[in-house]
Amino acid sequence: MTAPVAHPPEGLSAPDEPPHAPPPPTRPKMPLWNRIRLLLLFAVAWLILVWAAMADNPLLPFVDSVRIQLHDSQWLIWLAGLELLRQIHYLIEERSARYHRFWSQKVSGGMDRAVRKRMSDWTRFRIARMVKIALVIVLFAVIAGRVLDTSPVLAIFQAPALLYRALPLILQLAFAFFFIAFQFIGLFWLLSRGGVDTYYPDDIKTRFTDVWGQDHVVDRIRENIMYLEKPDEIEAKGGYVPGGILLWGPPGTGKTLMAEAVAGETGRPYVFVDPGAFINMFFGVGVLKVKSLFRKLRKLALRYGGVIVFFDEADSLGNRGSLAQVGPGGPTGRGMTPFDTSCHGAAYLAEDTRWMLAKNAMGDAFVAGAGMNGMGGGGGMGTLQALLTELSGLKKPRGLVNRWGRRALGMRPKPPPKYRILVMMATNMPEALDEALLRPGRIDRIYRVGYPSKAGRIRTYEGYFDKVPHEITPEQLDKLATITPYATGATIKDLVNEALITAIRDGRDAITWPDVVKAKQLKELGPPEDVEYIERERHAVAVHEACHAIVAFRTRQHMEIDLATIEKGSDYLGMVASIPPEDQFTRWRSEFESDILVSLASLAGERMFFDGDSSSGVSGDLESATQVASFMEGFWGMGSTVSSYSTAQRLQVGSPGGGAARREGEKPEAMLRRALADRIEDKLGDLLVRAEALLAENRAQVLALAHALEIHRTLTGDDVEAVIEGREGETVDGSAYRDPEFAARLEDYHTAAVGAHRGHSRMPIALPPGRSTVDGPAEGTAAATA
């Protein structure tokens, strides 16, 4: 035995290749078909020649034709013989390992190596392809030559004539094909129409001056339009024109109006894309629509030097749901009130507090960005992707002639002209948009069209009031803007219209302040349910709400009382609603504390006025108070400790309150409460005592306000203040409550009500009548004396 030969390493196989196996000692067995297919081909070709000779001569019998072709077409026989030899060679290779080794390694292996050394893979492929094509042509030529009785070379030149003769049949088949295909082409063409409206300059009369209260956004959009109109200014310096704007914000804040104003202001065509345009019955129609839309946009952009396209409700384009994503600025969710409806919602709380509670009630507030994952939505398969491609595909060369023709002539395709397309989108669900849509290059600028500022609201109110007859003074307008902090263009218009309807119903021509107040209450509270409380319950509800209102009035400086009511609505028994007098963006410890005080006032008041008894109506109040207190203690550093409770729990370091680590599956807030329970309870207890003290000091005012509520049922913020301060208000004369004798009557009435409450009996005395500044004897009097 010789020393082992150093074999070259086996090497790693490429990922898409099976692992290397050692070459087999003999040639692998060939399937029967592979053995005979060439022989069969030759046999068939030869038989065709035999047949062709017979077809050309009616006298020629088969046997003689065979004999003649054996002589005349012996080249085929020779080829078949060669093939037979080859097959015999293979057969031997399959049997004999030595023979196989000799041929595969010495002969063909050596040739293979020599060829590889001289030619690249690409050259070999091209040569092999040419040889194959040449073989096919030669075979065709020879057979056609025999069939047509000419030389093979001439037969090749006759091929076009043969083709020409076959043309009618080919055309017929082609027609049949197109007849079928056109049905679908036509159907899809028809389906891909519509959903897109084009407006030319001066078609739309809306201007930027019609957009009120969103000046900062309008200024930015003006800038975008300026760049579209005069792109040279920015392009000369090497910049590029921002091509996409997203307007997002709550409904009714004027996004669509702004887009219309853009259409009205600009001297460019304006294409409006219907939100439903991309919702289709068939796959692919949306893609066709996107493509035809952008073809149109490019045409318009070239013709008019620029074009603006507006996608309204862009969330209908849908998203691919790839990431749990949150829109710019976090999930929007204002106006959601998933509250207990036992007492009065949480309308007396500050908006931000309410919002925080809402988030909490919605689910896990501690996971940032757990917004709605806007899976699905609109477009259907591929539509969004097509849109994305078109948005970023505007810079590539286009056109058949440009791309193929010029390249065939050896020229480089011309770059496309600068299509100046300004894409505008509007949505109130930015979190439902696909992230890829929002990247710079597609949407360059994202503007939040938020609630209008107070100045904007005043401007909007002015605008709408100026369109109808009214007697509203500028001071009243200012106040109205103050007490409607989250009004949008749409709600303001609605309010003005409602006030006008109220005035007309009362037989007046112009809107007055009480009409506005009435309209606002109707809009905010809905129509009252017209339920008559029994007297002792009415008194209890009135006292409950009065407690809230008194504490709010005494402690809360950052909010004003908007209204107080004991009219039962669809989801509350009574309500004290507050509003922030100014736009304010930070929240303070004192404010949260007063929020808690206002929440606890109901429990403190009920206990105090009903001899320690209290109703279940305070459950929602306590929930809110506890939650705010928990966040103050554990998260905001507004309690006795500084560390953030959520971080401490996440890092398993315990907390200053001595709480244990979070248990498996435990909700953070539950854990929070357990660990901080004592401190929170202490805090709430302190605040409850403060609320009690406050109410004890203001006992007379509580009873006065409760009386005013019982009589008028609904009081405006101004009336509430008038009653508490004992002055004359807008609709209620509070001066009567300064009278000690009247106060004593109220005390008596309250005592009687407590007695009736305890005995579940009827009220022994009637409600003392009150005084109104507007309309004579109050409505409550009749009911009370009845």
Partner: protein, 221 residues
């Protein structure tokens, strides 16, 4: 081996079949299949008869060798059963073995109207009574008409088959078996002439009959 035979059975059977087909074709064909594909004329001639040299034939007919077959509008071929084929056997005074002339002639537009069945009869030798009466050639003697049949194979083709006897230039009497066809628009004349001496004609009547009956014209491909 047994196993091998079983597995390779179909292949072996295929090879055997191919070999059988080749063997079946091993013999030479019995006939020479003469055809003019362009004009759709076919005839089969026994393989033992030889083709007469084309130049020889053209000279004997008096064709201009400079002109091509297509330009002069005449296609013709000759076959001879004698061991040394010669055009003389076709046009000379005596042919001891059968000789065949087959031709297709394009008829000029102007003379198409004058062609009749008698024209076909009298193409080589005066056969119709009128032609014989007008015959000025003293070399042609001893006429005898054996057969005269009008042929209508269809598609507007009509023709006449005549068998007659003449002595040419004082030689032994010769039998002429002549078939002529005229196509539908009288643009082509197809002719087949088989001649040999009367004794030969009697002896080899079967062969000659075979050749004559195979003469086929197709108006449509």
């Amino acid at each position: 081996m047994r196993c091998l035979r079983l597995r390779q059975g179909p292949a072996v059977a295929g090879l055997v079949l191919l070999a059988a087909a080749l063997l079946a074709g091993c013999g030479a064909p019995q006939y020479t299949y003469v055809k003019n594909s362009a004009d759709h004329m076919y005839v089969k001639i026994p393989a033992s008869w030889h083709s007469i040299d084309q130049k020889d034939l053209d000279n004997a007919v008096g064709l201009d060798p400079a002109e091509s077959a297509s330009s002069r509008g005449l296609w013709l071929q000759g076959y001879d059963a004698a061991d040394t084929p010669s055009a003389l056997h076709l046009f000379g005074s005596s042919a001891a073995e059968p000789a065949v002339l087959v031709s297709v002639q394009q008829v000029p537009q102007a003379s198409r109207g004058g062609l009749s069945l008698d024209g076909l009869r009298d193409f080589f030798f005066p056969v119709s009574p009128t032609a014989r009466q007008n015959n000025q050639n003293p070399q042609l003697t001893g006429f005898g008409l054996m057969a005269d049949d009008v042929l209508t194979p269809g598609d507007g083709v009509r023709g006449v088959h005549t068998v007659y006897r003449y002595s040419l230039g004082g030689g032994p009497p010769q039998m002429m078996d002549q078939t002529g066809y005229l196509n539908d628009d009288a643009s082509k004349v197809y002719l087949l002439l088989v001649r040999c001496s009367t004794t030969c004609y009697k002896d080899r009547h079967g062969e000659i009959e075979n050749v004559v009956s195979s003469f086929t014209i197709r108006e449509k491909p």
